[in-house]
Symmetry: C2
Subunit: 338 residues, 2 copies
DNA sequence: CTGAAAGCGCTTACAG
DNA sequence: CTGAAAGCGCTTACAG
């Protein structure tokens, strides 16, 4: 029965303590940055950790601390819908990065189908997760309700609407963003400005429509609004419809960049010159915005910042702070499509 | 000091035991399906669980059992590259589903960048995960090496190549699939068959090239091979190149469906009729295969089955079985492009 | 500054 | 069939 650092099983804190010649309490204190550890002990522990390849068992640690040390990125959307949406990857990577800075880890949980929802909730209920970031492009907030009921710290990405369960959220200012874009279009001398709107159940979608209407004021004409679905295809279809019904339009506010890209393609296919004949503005400022010729004038959503604030607020909440809600401004990025 | 089922903290097994009027040992036995529990006790426990809303703490359970109860789906690819690749979503959903059937949960871990790799490895080393499914479209197997060294049960999706660390894997038969496709093209009377190959570092890519060459035998002409990158764009470019260099080709084997879709578009843009002037075959049978007109003849990869076998083999390995390697046949799906 | 001890919430031989 | 007890690997008051 030797000290056998590695005989198949993972080294424990006892192995480290033995190798360092101190008690495991001291090892723990040395590792967790507590004061009250002599330089000698600190050195010995560090050497022993290196020698044994010790990593604290997260299960044991979490059990004692009543903290799992990880949060879920819960995706309330079918995985396939996420494909082709560059926002998602950016948001997710941003969250993963800022979580890592706080030495917490992120796990992605799928909640697109009812089945997946049940599974995710089950997993969360098991104590493996300290909190959840809920991301969904459409309004189906039953998961949020369940999470609330279970008392899990949760933060939502986007603006919930009236009637949705009350939670923390972080969002870009959809209303103001839409206003800025339409005002930009107006400043370009455009008079007949159509909109290819977000799908009706999109989170924050009605705010963009409202901003559009508000900025237009007396010029507003509801018949100039057609609904898209946030895809390139939808943008094409929307533009075609708009052109057919209102041959006189000279600008279009597209609900997002993907939509704008499709709209540009369709307009060009119809023989229109963008922006000379028709200006087209988008929303997001993701890779789609520079995938077209001309490149798209758009409202930049601060995705990385959103992700950062989302993790900050969530962690505060895990630490007992009350829920909070944060709205971030968007910024006009002028390119060649307007 | 009442029994207080819910006073903020989660109910524990002690709460259930108290409510059911039995010991916690009995509760545990009742919940884990052990024999040797009287019907009365079983009923009492079930009622108490319902009443308290008890869910076993996974941390405590895992600590005792030396089992985390979850596996990682480790993605060795930049998240952005995954977007636009329908295979990935299918594989991931398949894995998630079959894992759920074994009441294990799946967490997605990103390992696209060096940073993410380090973080993922760190997380895994912490004991929160019982095993990992490693998915990567390109050859950079250093993660596999680290996983092996750490003694983490791991299964790879795709065929590692000589020199890669030895592990379990599940793969579609790339070699045979390529042979089948080329033979199909030959059976259509095609003589000059080009190939838009997978990128050179693609997992299993060289096998598809080898199958192409082998099926062609004496007809093989290496100058008819151009390299793509598994994207639609790459398919377009490849086709254009092929057409420019070899105006006489009458068929193309595209490395995957995305490539085939791009190739069809490019061929048509050049005034070719598919399949009359030129037959184009793909590989995968995902949504891209039916996104074009004509729809694409392709080799179906059994993604769901791959995912299922991947989880089965991984779990066996977690349970102490030795590593294993499984190759699944692909199936020719004839559509209109050949 | 450090060690011994208790306890986080489970499961499972071990007695009965 | 069931309860009491030990122990999984940690952290943190509590004494010293």
């Amino acid at each position: 029965m030797t000290t056998s650092p590695t005989n198949g099983r993972r080294p424990t804190i006892d192995d480290v303590a033995r190798a360092a010649g101190v008690s495991k309490g001291t090892v723990s204190r040395a590792l967790n940055g507590h004061r009250w550890v002599s330089p000698d002990a600190q050195r010995a522990v560090e050497a022993a950790v290196k020698q044994t390849g010790y990593r604290a068992n997260a299960l044991a640690r979490g059990l004692k601390l009543q903290r799992a040390g990880s949060v879920a990125f819960l995706l309330g959307e079918d995985l396939d819908h996420m494909f082709g949406d560059p926002n998602f990857a950016t948001l997710m990577r941003g969250a993963s990065d800022s979580l890592a800075e706080m030495s917490m880890s992120m796990v992605l949980l799928l909640a697109g189908s009812a089945d997946e929802q049940a599974r995710a909730l089950d997993f969360i209920g098991t104590g493996t997760i300290d909190g959840v970031m809920f991301v969904s492009w459409h309004h189906d907030m039953s998961v949020l309700t369940d999470l609330n009921r279970a008392g899990i710290p949760t933060i939502f990405c986007g603006t919930p609407r009236a009637g949705d369960p009350m939670t923390s959220f972080v969002t870009a200012d959809d209303l103001d963003g839409a206003i800025q874009m339409v005002e930009h279009l107006l400043s370009r001398g455009r008079k007949r400005i159509g909109m290819i709107a977000p799908p009706k159940d999109a989170v924050g979608g009605s705010l963009r429509v409202e901003g559009y209407l508000r900025a237009l004021g007396d010029l507003a004409d509801e018949s100039l609004i057609v609904y898209g679905d946030y895809t390139r295809e939808g943008g094409r279809a929307g533009m075609l419809k708009l052109l057919a019904q209102h041959p006189d339009i000279d600008a279009v506010f597209a609900a997002n960049d993907l939509t704008a890209a499709g709209a540009i393609e369709a307009a060009q296919a119809e023989g229109k010159v963008v922006p000379d004949d028709i200006s087209i503005g988008g929303f997001d400022d993701n890779s789609a915005a520079t995938s077209t010729v001309p490149a798209i004038t758009t409202m930049r959503q601060p995705f990385i910042r959103l992700a950062k604030e989302m993790t900050r607020l969530l962690i505060d909440q895990i630490n007992g702070e009350p829920p909070a809600q944060l709205t971030l401004r968007t910024e006009l990025v002028v390119r060649d499509s307007t």
